[in-house]
């Protein structure tokens, strides 16, 4: 949506989240929704990140702690499985990494410019010190 000047705003605005008729949003998954251009889903906060979470599915036990505690709806869970991170909406807070219970963690934070393939190939081994 194009930027507007201060005097071009409507007084008392109404924004539509979806285009067309949309019933039963609570049971419609994000990929099936007809988002309008005024829904923040179409925007991105990826440029806020200085560190990004990298997901290693080899160690994931699908406990969904990251899904429930993610403040930005960025953990994508489908059919009770964690399938990845939504990098358009992730702000890089690192809560998912903190709450991950596996050993070694199946999510780790890396600098934004790090190469995902390279980091996955040198994932830390199991840490025996912690219980």
């Amino acid at each position: 949506m194009a930027k507007r000047g201060w005097d071009e705003f409507e007084i008392g605005a109404m924004l539509r989240s979806f285009d067309g008729v949309s019933n039963d949003i609570a049971t419609t998954l994000q990929e099936d929704r007809n988002y309008s251009q005024s829904n923040s889903f179409v925007a991105s906060v990826a440029d806020w990140r200085i560190a990004k979470p990298v997901f290693n599915k080899d160690f994931c036990i699908d406990c969904q702690f990251c899904w429930i505690y993610c403040p930005d709806m960025s953990i994508i869970a489908r059919d009770k499985k964690m399938i990845g991170v939504d990098m358009d909406h992730c702000k890089g807070c690192g809560i998912c990494v903190e709450v991950c219970p596996t050993n070694p963690k199946s999510l780790l934070m890396f600098p934004e410019q790090a190469d995902e393939e390279a980091e996955l190939s040198q994932w830390p081994a199991k840490d025996k010190e912690t219980k």
Partner: protein
């Protein structure tokens, strides 16, 4: 009545389709959106929402974007609760007249507000809603400070906390007055349900929200929402701070049914000293100087006394 959504475990819960969208402008690591998600995902029914002025409102409705996939309204600082109560009254009237297009849909009415908009500015409005018996739920996102405008004290700010209008320094240790016991005040309206929740205990929270949706009448929910900016901790530690808050009994989790039947819903296995909760946050940093150490002792005594009080109330059913 529509069917209650069945949520047995976290895997089942994770099949929910979020009705709160990303790319809102809340700080990284903000607990507000965790609470909002847990409330919205607790039901599959239609929702009519409002937000009073505060972080949640300014960050999720930045023109030309909205982050809400349900009917949502914002009017002023004080009247989020009455806006939703008005919508509820209109819904009831139209239903009685048989003029609803889809009368079987059974929407839920929820108003969100920060502690400033609930404890101070919107207090009279919320009290009115509770007194009139609207079928609404009011959720307070209690971050104990006016975080949106730069960290001024609210009547939820606890003793010893450094806020911008009650700063800690050479002559003062920060906020000097105790926190208002809002859940008890609201329960004294003899509303069907009032509860205190925390986002880290998601199952307890979802259970309470679903109970709140199932009762007929006003419901008051107080949710602790750690603020990374004003409580001064690292964004990744949000859930750790919430764990400390519930396990140190600074935020005991309980519910009050019909204004008299108090149940404690979470008893920590290992109670953490309050000192650990205070030490994890930058806003209490000055309490660890020698001259203010006595305040930590007072904190512990106050938390213990409150816990004993809740236990006595649970036992006596008053």
């Amino acid at each position: 009545m529509s069917e209650m959504k069945k949520i047995k475990n976290l895997k089942e819960f994770s099949t929910s389709a979020d009705r709160f969208e990303g790319a809102n402008l809340l700080c990284p690591g903000c607990a507000h959106s965790i609470i909002v998600r847990e409330v919205l995902n607790a039901t599959n029914d239609d929702l009519v929402l409002s937000a009073s002025t505060g972080c949640l409102e300014v960050c999720t409705a930045v023109y030309p974007y909205t982050s809400w996939d349900a009917s949502w309204i914002h009017i002023g600082f004080e009247n989020g609760s009455t806006a939703v109560a008005g919508a509820e009254a209109m819904y009831k009237a139209l239903k009685n007249k048989g003029r609803l297009k889809q009368p079987d849909r059974n929407p839920k009415f929820v108003s969100f507000a920060g502690d400033g908009a609930s404890y101070d500015i919107g207090f009279q409005w919320i009290s009115g809603c509770m007194e009139r018996g609207h079928n609404i739920m009011h959720v307070v996102l209690d971050n104990e400070v006016y975080a949106n405008t730069g960290g001024q004290r609210s009547s939820s700010t606890p003793i010893g906390s450094s806020a911008t209008t009650a700063p800690a320094g050479r002559v003062s240790y920060g906020e000097k007055r105790n926190k208002k016991d809002m859940v008890s005040i609201m329960a004294s309206h003899h509303i069907p349900y009032a509860a205190q929740v925390a986002p880290n205990k998601w199952k307890d929270m979802v259970k309470k929200i679903q109970h709140g949706f199932s009762v007929d009448g006003p419901v008051f929910i107080n949710a602790v929402s750690p603020c990374t900016t004003e409580w001064k901790f690292d964004p990744k530690d949000t859930m750790m701070i919430t764990d400390l808050a519930t396990d140190s009994l600074v935020f005991p989790l309980y519910e009050i049914i019909d204004g008299h039947e108090l149940n404690i819903t979470y008893r920590p296995k290992n109670v953490v000293p309050v000192e650990e909760y205070l030490a994890a946050q930058g806003r209490f940093k000055h309490l660890f100087k020698d001259e203010y150490k006595y305040l930590i002792k007072e904190w512990q005594e106050r938390v213990d006394a409150n816990w004993a009080y809740l236990n006595r109330r649970e036992e006596a059913r008053v």
